[in-house]
C-alpha cells in the first residue's frame, strides 16, 4: 500500500517557500499594514511601562508631596496606551486569522481544482484518503503556521534590530558578543532544519498513508467482518498507527530541543556579557549604569529570538506539509486541448476507430489494431469474455485515455483535435459501477442537466422504472441518499444512474453493463424506454445478457483485445463461431 500512496519525493524547499509566499501575494499590502501596526503595538507596549515608571517617580517624592495631577495624567496616558495596544493586538490577530484561513481556503480549492484536471488513472494509483489528508492535515498545518508565524517573525525583526542599535550605542565591545550568539543561533537553526524538516515530511506522509488505509478499510468494513478478518486489519493498522506515532515522535524529538536551546544560547550570551562586562568594569572601561541598561536591552534582544525559534519549528513543519501539497499540484494533468482544438457541434454520430493500439502500462497492450465503424444512429454492441478489453474501448471513446497509436474520429474529426469537454458531452454514459452522492434523489437524477425541472426528473425516473420506488419513500424525490448509506440497494442505485443518463441529453449513448444488477423484468421495461431514447442516437452497449443486444445493428465480438467476429446477431449465429458458443452457453 505504501508504494502506491507515496508520491514522488518532494525536495525543493526553497521553491516550496516561494510558492507559499505567492499565496500571500494578494494580501501583501494588508500584511505590510499589519507589520506597521504591530510596530505601533510594540511601541505602545514599551511606552506603557515607562509611563508607569514616570508615575512612580512622581510618587517617589514621598508622603504628602505627591503631585497627583502628574500621576493622574500619566495614569490616563497609560490607560490610553493599554487600550490602544489591546485594540491593535486584537485587530492584528483578527486580520492574520482571516488571511491565513483564506489562504488555506485557496489552497484547498486549488487542490480540488487540480484533482478535477487529473487523468482518471491518477485515482487508481492514489488512495482517496491520502489525497484527502493533504487537505485535512497538511493545509491545516500550513494555515496554523501562517496565522502566527509571519507577523511574529516580521515584528520581531523590528525589535531585534532596534535593541541591537541601542546595544551598539552603549558598548561596542559588549555588542560584539552578539557576533557569537547570533551566528550560533542561526547555525543551530539551520542545522535543526536539516534534522527536522525531513522528519516533518515523513510525518505528513505517514499521516497520509494512515488516512488512506483507514478510508480503504472502513469502506470495506462489511467484507472484513464477514471474513473475520478484523483482527488482521487491526494488526495492520497497529503497524501503520505505530509508524505515524513514531514519525510524530521523531519529528518532535528534535523539534522540542529548538526552544530550550535558543534560550540557552541567549542565556549563554548573558553570562558572557556579565563576564566581559565585569572585567571591563574592573578595568574602569564601563560604568554600572550603562552595564545595567545594556543587560536590559540584550534581554529585549533575546526575547523575540526565543519566540522566533518556536515559530521556526512550526514553519519547518508547514514547509514539509506544503511540499506534499505542491507535489500534488505538480502532478501531470490530462493533456490540455490544443489551441486550435475545435468544439464538436451538431454531432451526427459517426464514430470510427482506426488501427488503435492501447495498453494501460507500457509494454502491455490490451487492444491490438482495433478497427470499428459505428454509423450514426446505429446500435453497436460489444461482447466478449471478461477482460477482453470492452471497458477499455469505452475509456478511449470518452478520452479518459488516449490511444498509443491509431485514431478515433467523431463525424470524421479526430477526437484528439477536438475540445475534450465536447467529446465527453457527446455521450451519455451509464457505467457498471454506480455512483450516487450525498444529496436528494432529485439532485442525483438531475446531476447531468443543470436547471432540470421536476417534471423532467420525474419523466426520467419513470423511464428508468424507479419512480414507484421513489414515491413510496416518505420524502419522495427529496429523500437524501448517500453512497455508503445502507438503505438503497445496488440495483436501485443503478436505476438512478440510468435515469440520470436519460435526462442527460447527448447525441450518443454508452451503456457499460448498465443493468447488470437490475432484475430482468425491470430491465426489459427499461429497454423499451431506452429504445425510445436511443432512436436516432449512436449507441454503444456492453452486455453479458446477450438477449439484450440481439437487435443491435452490429455486434463486435472481442477476445483478448482483438475483434474476432463482427456482424448482426443473425449473421453471427449463422457463422456458428465464438459468438454462437457464447450465446448457447446462456441456455446450458
Amino acid at each position: 500500500m505504501a508504494r502506491d500512496t507515496v508520491m514522488k519525493k518532494p525536495k525543493d524547499t526553497r521553491g516550496a517557500l516561494r510558492r507559499l509566499l505567492r499565496y500571500l501575494g494578494p494580501w501583501k499590502y494588508v500584511i505590510a499594514g499589519i507589520v506597521v501596526l504591530s510596530l505601533f503595538g510594540n511601541l505602545l507596549n514599551l511606552w506603557g511601562p515607562s509611563l508607569a515608571g514616570d508615575a512612580i517617580r512622581e510618587a517617589a517624592a514621598g508622603p504628602g508631596k505627591v503631585n497627583f495631577d502628574a500621576v493622574s495624567r500619566d495614569a490616563g496616558l497609560m490607560l490610553l496606551c493599554y487600550v490602544g495596544s489591546a485594540v491593535l493586538g486584537f485587530g492584528i490577530s483578527l486580520m492574520m486569522t482571516v488571511i491565513s484561513k483564506r489562504v488555506a481556503r485557496r489552497m484547498r480549492q486549488d487542490v480540488f481544482d487540480k484533482l478535477m484536471l487529473l487523468p482518471v488513472g491518477f485515482f487508481d494509483r492514489h488512495q482517496a484518503g491520502d489525497v484527502i489528508s493533504r487537505v485535512s492535515y497538511d493545509i491545516d498545518v500550513i494555515s496554523t503556521s501562517l496565522a502566527t508565524d509571519i507577523v511574529q517573525i516580521l515584528s520581531s525583526v523590528v525589535t531585534v534590530v532596534g535593541s541591537l542599535v541601542m546595544m551598539i550605542a552603549i558598548s561596542l565591545p559588549l555588542s560584539a558578543l552578539t557576533l557569537v550568539t547570533v551566528p550560533v543561533s542561526v547555525i543551530y537553526t539551520v542545522y535543526m532544519r536539516k534534522k527536522t524538516q525531513p522528519r516533518y515530511a515523513k510525518r505528513s506522509r505517514c499521516y497520509g498513508t494512515m488516512n488512506g488505509f483507514v478510508e480503504e478499510m472502513l469502506s470495506g468494513q462489511k467484507t472484513i467482518l464477514a471474513y473475520a478478518y478484523e483482527n488482521r486489519v487491526d494488526e495492520r493498522f497497529d503497524s501503520i498507527n505505530k509508524d505515524s506515532a513514531d514519525a510524530f515522535r521523531d519529528a518532535e524529538h528534535y523539534g522540542v530541543t529548538l526552544g530550550p536551546t535558543m534560550t540557552a544560547i541567549n542565556n549563554l550570551g548573558l553570562s558572557l556579557i556579565a563576564l566581559l562586562g565585569g572585567i571591563l568594569f574592573l578595568n574602569g572601561q564601563m560604568d554600572l549604569g550603562r552595564m545595567s541598561s545594556f543587560v536590559l536591552y540584550s534581554r529585549k534582544f533575546a526575547g523575540p529570538i526565543n519566540a522566533i525559534a518556536e515559530v521556526f519549528n512550526e514553519l519547518f513543519s508547514a514547509l514539509a506539509a506544503s511540499e506534499r501539497v505542491f507535489s500534488l499540484l505538480d502532478e501531470e494533468e490530462e493533456s490540455a486541448d490544443a489551441p486550435e482544438a475545435r468544439m464538436l457541434t451538431k454531432i451526427r454520430g459517426d464514430v470510427s476507430v482506426e488501427h488503435v493500439n492501447f495498453g494501460y502500462e507500457d509494454g502491455k497492450t490490451i487492444l491490438h489494431d482495433l478497427n470499428l465503424e459505428a454509423p450514426a444512429g446505429k446500435l453497436t454492441a460489444i461482447v466478449g469474455p471478461t477482460g477482453a478489453g470492452k471497458t477499455t474501448i469505452i475509456n478511449l471513446l470518452m478520452r479518459f485515455y488516449d490511444p498509443n497509436s491509431g485514431v478515433i474520429r467523431i463525424d470524421g474529426q479526430e477526437i484528439r483535435t477536438a475540445v475534450r469537454r465536447s467529446v465527453r458531452s457527446a455521450y451519455a454514459m451509464v457505467l457498471q459501477d454506480t455512483w450516487v452522492f450525498h444529496g436528494t434523489i432529485f439532485e442525483n437524477i438531475a446531476y447531468g442537466k443543470e436547471n432540470a425541472t421536476m417534471e423532467e426528473v420525474v419523466a426520467a425516473a419513470k423511464a428508468a422504472r424507479i419512480h414507484p420506488f421513489i414515491m413510496r419513500l416518505p420524502q419522495g424525490y427529496d429523500t437524501v441518499i448517500s453512497e455508503d448509506g445502507g438503505n438503497i440497494s445496488k440495483g436501485q442505485k443503478q436505476l438512478l444512474t440510468i435515469a440520470r443518463a436519460m435526462l442527460y441529453d447527448a447525441p450518443m449513448l454508452i451503456l457499460d453493463e448498465a443493468t447488470s444488477n437490475v432484475d430482468t423484468a425491470t430491465e426489459r421495461e427499461i429497454q423499451k424506454a431506452m429504445r425510445e431514447l436511443m432512436k436516432q442516437k449512436t449507441c454503444f452497449v456492453i452486455a453479458h445478457r446477450l438477449s439484450t443486444i440481439e437487435n443491435a445493428d452490429q455486434i463486435l465480438v472481442l477476445r483478448d483485445g482483438d475483434v474476432v467476429e463482427q456482424g448482426t446477431h443473425r449473421q453471427l449465429m449463422e457463422r456458428k463461431g465464438f459468438y454462437h458458443q457464447m450465446y448457447a452457453a446462456q441456455f446450458e
Binding site: D4, A52, A55, I56, P63, F68, V71, L79, Y82, F90, V98, R105, F112, M116, V120, A128, V131, I132, Y137, N211, V214, L218, K222, T223, L225, A226, Y227, N241, R249, E252, T257, T263, N267, S271, A274, F281, M291, P385, T386, T391, F437, Y447, G448, L473, P474, Q475, D484, G486, N487, S489, K490, G491, Q492, L495, D519, H544, S547, E550, A585, F587
Partner: protein
C-alpha cells in the same frame, strides 16, 4: 476531556515526573535574572579582582546548561506521552470503528469516521504534548506573581484581584462557546472530506458528464462554509487574550493611582510599586499562557468529544446468553422463522445517510424458509425487493425486529460474531478488492494454503487471468481493484469466498459481470467441488438459480413464491413471467 484523562491515566506517574522536571527547569530559568541582578548589583561593584565575576558567570553558565537539559528532557518525555496516548486512542478508535454495527455505521457516516480517526486525533495529540509543559510554566508565573504581590502589599494586590472575575468569566465563556464552535468546524470538515471523497470515487461520472465545475462549486461551498466557521471560531478565541490583558493593565493603572495616594499617605513605599510592575509582568505572562492553554483545550475538547462519541458507542449485536436466545425449530443449516425487518429501528431519529421519515414499509415481511445442510437456495426478485437484506440478517449485520434466524440449529444471536462468520464464504453485491496482492485479497488472514487458494481460483475461473500476470498471486491489485475488469474482480471475489471451503456459501449477485459461459462453468465447479457447502445464491439471471433445491421469489419484502424451479413454474405466476422473459427472448 474525560476521554483525554482516561487515556492519560496509565501515564499519570510519568506525567508527574515530566511536570516535576519542567518545574525544576522553570525554576532554574526564573532564577537566571536574579543571579544576573546579584552579579550586577553586588558582585561586580565589590569585586577586588576578576575571580568572583568569573565564578558567578560560571554559575550562570551552569544554570543555563541545567535549564536546557531539564527542559529538553521534560519536552521529550511529554512527546513520548503524547505519542503513546494518541497511539492508544487511534488504536481503540479504529478497533471500535471497524466493529461498528451496520446501523451505527450508517449513523456516524464514513467521512466523519475518517476525520475523527485523523484530524481529531492530531488535535488531541498536540494538546497532550503541549499541556504537560505549558501547563506548568503559566500557572507558576501566575500563582507565583500573585503570591509575591500579596506578601508585598495586600491592599494593592487585591486591586489586581478584582480583575479575577473578568478572567473567570472569560475562561468560562471560551470553554462554553469554544467547544461547540470547534465541534462545528470539525463537522464542516467532515462535509468537506465527504464532498472530496465523493468526487474522487465518482471521477469517471464527473468527467463523463462534464461536471467538473459543478463539483468545484459544490466543494467550494463546503470549503467556504468551513472557512467561515473557522474564522468565526478563531475570532471568538482571540477575544479573551486582549481583553484579559487590558483588564489586568487597567488594574495596574489603578495600582499606580491608588499606590500614589498610599505613598502620599505614607502607607507604602514607592519601591513596592516599582516591584509590583516587575511581578505584574510575570502575572500577565502567566495569564497569557493560560489563555493559550484554554484555547487549545477547547479545540482539543471538541475533538476529544467527537472521538469519545464513537469510542463509547455500545457494542451492538453482541452474543446473547444461550437462555435468552430462541430455540431452533430444526437442525437445518439455515432457518428463517417469520422474520420481519426494517433498517430504521427508530424512524424518528435523523440519521446520516439513511432515509428519514415516520412510516416506511417493512424491508422484509414475515419471511420463513429452511435450507438443509449441503442444500441450496436461490433468491430472485425485483430490484429493491429485500434480497440483500436476507444476507444482512443471516450474517447478523442487523437484527430483525420480529422472528428469528438460525444457523446450524442455533440462534444467530447466540454466536460469537467471528464464529458465525467463519462458517460463511460470501461475495457481496458491491464487494471490495483491497489495494494489496491477489494472495492477500484471497487468503484474507485465514488459514488458507497456496494449494487451497489455487484450487479456489480454478473453481472461480480466475486462475487463467491470474496466472497470465507476471507475479501471479503476488500481483498487486490497484485501488478498488481498478486494474481488473468487472468480471475479473467478481471472479477474484468468488475465489475469496471459496478458498476456505466454507460451510455456507453466499453469492449476492456475484456473477452479474460474468458472461454466461463462465457463469455456467462456475456453477458446475461449485456443484462438483463444493457440493457439501450449503449454498445461497441471489441473482437476476434465472439460469443462476434454476438448479437450486429451493428458490424463493421476493416482491417488496414479501415472499410470493417458494419451491423448486418446477414447482414455481406451476405455482408462481411472477416466476413464470421471469422465466419466460429471460429464456424465451432469444427465440422470439
Amino acid at each position: 476531556m474525560k476521554l483525554i484523562l482516561r487515556y492519560l491515566r496509565p501515564y499519570r506517574l510519568f506525567i508527574l515526573l515530566v511536570m516535576v522536571i519542567k518545574l525544576l527547569g522553570t525554576g532554574t530559568d526564573l532564577l537566571m535574572p536574579y543571579v544576573l541582578e546579584h552579579l550586577l548589583d553586588h558582585v561586580i561593584p565589590g569585586a577586588a579582582d576578576a575571580w568572583p565575576v568569573i565564578a558567578w558567570s560560571g554559575v550562570m553558565f551552569l544554570l543555563t546548561l541545567i535549564t536546557r537539559i531539564l527542559n529538553i528532557t521534560a519536552n521529550r518525555m511529554s512527546v513520548r506521552v503524547a505519542r503513546d496516548s494518541a497511539f492508544a486512542i487511534r488504536r481503540d478508535l479504529f478497533h471500535t470503528a471497524l466493529n461498528l454495527s451496520g446501523r451505527q455505521m450508517d449513523q456516524v457516516g464514513l467521512p466523519s469516521l475518517i476525520s475523527r480517526m485523523t484530524s481529531d486525533t492530531y488535535n488531541v495529540q498536540g494538546f497532550i504534548r503541549m499541556i504537560q509543559t505549558m501547563g506548568i510554566r503559566a500557572p507558576i508565573m501566575l500563582l507565583g506573581g500573585i503570591a509575591i504581590t500579596l506578601t508585598m502589599d495586600t491592599g494593592l494586590a487585591l486591586i489586581l484581584c478584582i480583575t479575577a472575575p473578568v478572567m473567570i468569566v472569560l475562561v468560562c465563556f471560551v470553554s462554553w462557546k469554544g467547544i461547540p464552535m470547534y465541534n462545528e468546524v470539525q463537522r464542516r470538515m467532515d462535509l468537506l472530506v465527504q464532498r472530496m471523497r465523493e468526487s474522487i470515487t465518482g471521477i469517471r461520472v464527473v468527467k463523463a458528464l462534464g461536471k467538473e465545475s459543478y463539483e468545484r462549486r459544490r466543494y467550494g461551498e463546503a470549503n467556504a462554509g468551513m472557512t467561515r466557521q473557522e474564522i468565526k471560531a478563531s475570532v471568538i478565541m482571540s477575544l479573551p487574550g486582549p481583553i484579559v490583558t487590558l483588564f489586568l493593565n487597567v488594574g495596574l493603572t489603578l495600582v499606580v493611582l491608588i499606590g500614589a495616594r498610599r505613598v502620599n499617605g505614607g502607607q507604602t513605599e514607592p519601591g513596592v510599586i516599582l516591584a509590583f510592575l516587575t511581578y505584574f509582568n510575570m502575572i500577565l505572562m502567566g495569564v497569557m499562557g493560560l489563555n493559550r492553554i484554554f484555547m487549545m483545550m477547547s479545540k482539543a475538547n471538541a475533538s476529544a468529544n467527537r472521538i469519545g462519541e464513537v469510542i463509547d458507542l455500545p457494542e451492538e449485536l453482541t452474543p446473547l446468553a444461550e437462555e435468552e436466545t430462541a430455540k431452533a425449530p430444526g437442525d437445518e443449516a439455515l432457518i428463517f422463522d417469520h422474520v420481519s425487518f426494517n433498517y430504521d429501528e427508530d424512524p424518528s431519529v435523523e440519521a446520516h445517510g439513511q432515509f428519514l421519515g415516520e412510516e416506511r414499509q417493512k424491508c422484509l415481511d414475515d419471511i420463513s424458509f429452511r435450507v438443509r445442510k449441503g442444500g441450496s437456495l436461490g433468491i430472485i426478485g425485483a430490484t429493491g425487493s429485500g434480497k440483500t437484506s436476507i444476507i444482512n440478517l443471516m450474517m447478523r449485520f442487523y437484527d430483525p425486529q420480529q422472528g428469528h434466524v438460525f444457523v446450524d440449529g442455533r440462534d444467530v444471536r447466540a454466536y460469537h460474531r467471528d464464529e458465525l462468520h467463519r462458517k460463511f464464504g460470501v461475495v457481496f453485491q458491491n464487494d471490495v478488492i483491497f489495494a494489496d496482492t491477489i494472495r492477500e485479497n484471497v487468503v484474507f488472514g485465514r488459514d488458507v494454503s497456496d494449494e487451497m487458494m489455487e484450487r479456489a481460483a480454478e473453481d472461480a475461473m480466475a486462475s487463467g487471468f491470474v496466472e497470465s500476470r507476471e507475479e501471479r498471486y503476488d500481483h498487486r491489485a490497484a485501488i478498488r481493484g481498478a486494474n481488473f475488469s468487472g468480471g475479473q474482480k467478481q471472479r477474484l471475489l468468488i475465489t475469496r469466498a471459496l478458498a476456505a471451503q466454507p460451510e455456507i456459501l453466499v453469492l449476492d449477485d456475484a456473477s452479474s459481470a460474468l458472461d454466461y459461459r463462465t457463469d455456467a462453468k462456475l456453477r458446475k465447479a461449485i456443484r462438483e467441488n463444493h457440493g457439501e457447502a450449503t449454498t445461497v445464491v441471489i441473482a437476476q439471471r434465472i439460469s443462476s438459480v434454476l438448479s437450486m433445491d429451493e428458490i424463493i421469489v421476493l416482491q417488496e419484502g414479501r415472499m410470493i413464491g417458494k419451491g423448486s424451479h418446477r414447482e414455481l413454474m406451476e405455482s408462481c405466476a411472477e416466476y413464470r413471467e421471469i422465466y419466460r422473459t429471460q429464456m424465451s427472448e432469444g427465440q422470439e
